[in-house]
Symmetry: C2
Subunit: 235 residues, 2 copies
DNA sequence: TTTATTTGTTAGGCAAGCCTAACTTGTATA
DNA sequence: TATACAAGTTAGGCTTGCCTAACAAATAAA
């Protein structure tokens, strides 16, 4: 049985590996994610290693064992199912769900999660567009391309957000954006990459920082990088 | 903001005062309820007193302040709403709900509880027949009479259980009993107070211990003690 | 390749909650 | 009233999860 804190460490490691596109993480990286000091992380790593949830040698990189990973995925699964529940059934807005799901994800009851999933009719994505792992621990897609990668004159479809903070999510809504919206990039400033986009016939200006936090899938024409299969599967 | 543990201490105090019919509790009593040692309780009492959640002097009795009491009632409210949710919406049996509700009762989100209550259409009783406090902290009834108080030849209606342990609840089901069932007492053994009862035309023998854990309301004819108003209101 | 900077580690400490063992106070019983 | 027992308290210790300050290793820059 894992503690609340241990679960959060594993979940944070999983998150980092998703973001890095590798399966390695560092002490400071983990400390930043958990808003905790590196020394604290170091203590915990020894315990997690002892429990065979991570692999890790002094001054080396941290990786999840398959045991650790499956625990982390289970927590992520619960988190996203609860977010979906709050959003779908209890009229929470997409910027409100995360905070409560951070608590609910630690409730221990397999039956509860099974019933929850069934009640929601086996959803595939949470309110932020993130994929919900299934009971076997399989996750469908990891989005990589963002609005910042879309070429001028081209269109894309928003599928998820990268930043889940409520301030960002509220901003997204204010700009008139939401999951599944078609976005056309009308122009990009040379100097600061400021974009002018069109959504539902409405024009908005968004910063590069903003654009980098909106995951999109191609409808051909994505700038530079080729269209990876994993992304286009759902486009 | 109260910790998980502090909430459990306050809830336990409330429970004890309900059971005692007074508003006082002792250190050992509290320790037993929480399955913790008296020394531990003593430490915590100092903190709770400091936070003005309990009134308490060395070697004296413990009472909840109105602040402490309202916190305790809020936890109890959440507990019973969650039990009702699990029972009504997720097909949990009445002996399964308590364990999970013990976790869910600590989730901090006023909005969540308001939505939960609305979703359940403002229930008044939980699956065990216990009253659910409303948002103002008001509780409707406290049952006092049990099946053990019913005279031979008389009938009553089961409204709640006193013991919430899953072993007892499963036993109750096995005997063919449930909330709102009519129970007729056919005989009572002189020696050990063993009862023969009739429920839905079916006869069963139940021990005194068993009978003392089934709350009932009168339909006149309750042995000895007069019919207190608070009980009969809902009968 | 030496130096500076980032990254990671160790030692020592603290608060929350729990424990045991020894003690004190209050109450019931003789 | 004296004494025994129950109830409550204190002292000291443990684990978990966090911290700061000082240090060591690895890596990037000069
Ligand atoms: Mn989230
Ligand atoms: Mn999400
Ligand atoms: Mn319960
Ligand atoms: Mn109940």
């Amino acid at each position: 049985m894992l503690s609340y804190t241990e679960e959060n460490y594993l979940k944070a490691l999983l998150k980092i590996t998703f973001e890095n596109g590798s399966n390695e993480a560092g002490t400071n990286e983990l400390a930043n994610t958990l808003v905790v000091k590196p020394a604290t992380v170091n203590d915990m790593l020894k315990k997690l290693k002892e429990k065979e949830l991570v692999e890790y040698e002094k001054y080396g990189k941290i990786t999840l064992t398959s045991e650790g990973r499956s625990n982390a995925i289970e927590v992520l699964r619960k988190h996203r199912l609860w977010e979906t529940f709050l959003y779908e059934k209890f009229d929470f807005s997409w910027d409100e769900v995360h905070e409560v799901a951070e608590q609910l994800e630690h409730i221990q009851s397999t039956k509860l999660i099974d019933k929850l999933e069934k009640f929601l009719d086996y959803p595939e994505f949470d309110p932020h567009g993130d994929p919900i792992p299934n009971k076997k621990g399989e996750i469908k897609v990891h989005f990589k391309k963002t609005l910042a990668d879309v070429g001028v004159g081209n269109s894309c479809r928003m599928v998820a957000v990268k930043d889940n903070s409520s301030s960002f999510l509220q901003y997204v809504v204010k700009v008139g954006l939401g999951i599944n919206n078609e976005i056309k990039v009308l122009s990009r400033q040379e100097y600061d990459a400021l974009l002018v986009i069109e959504v539902n016939g409405q024009l908005s200006s968004v910063s590069q920082k903003f654009a980098e936090n909106i995951f999109v899938v191609c409808q051909n024409c994505i700038i530079g990088k080729p269209c990876s299969k994993i992304k286009c599967e759902i486009s």
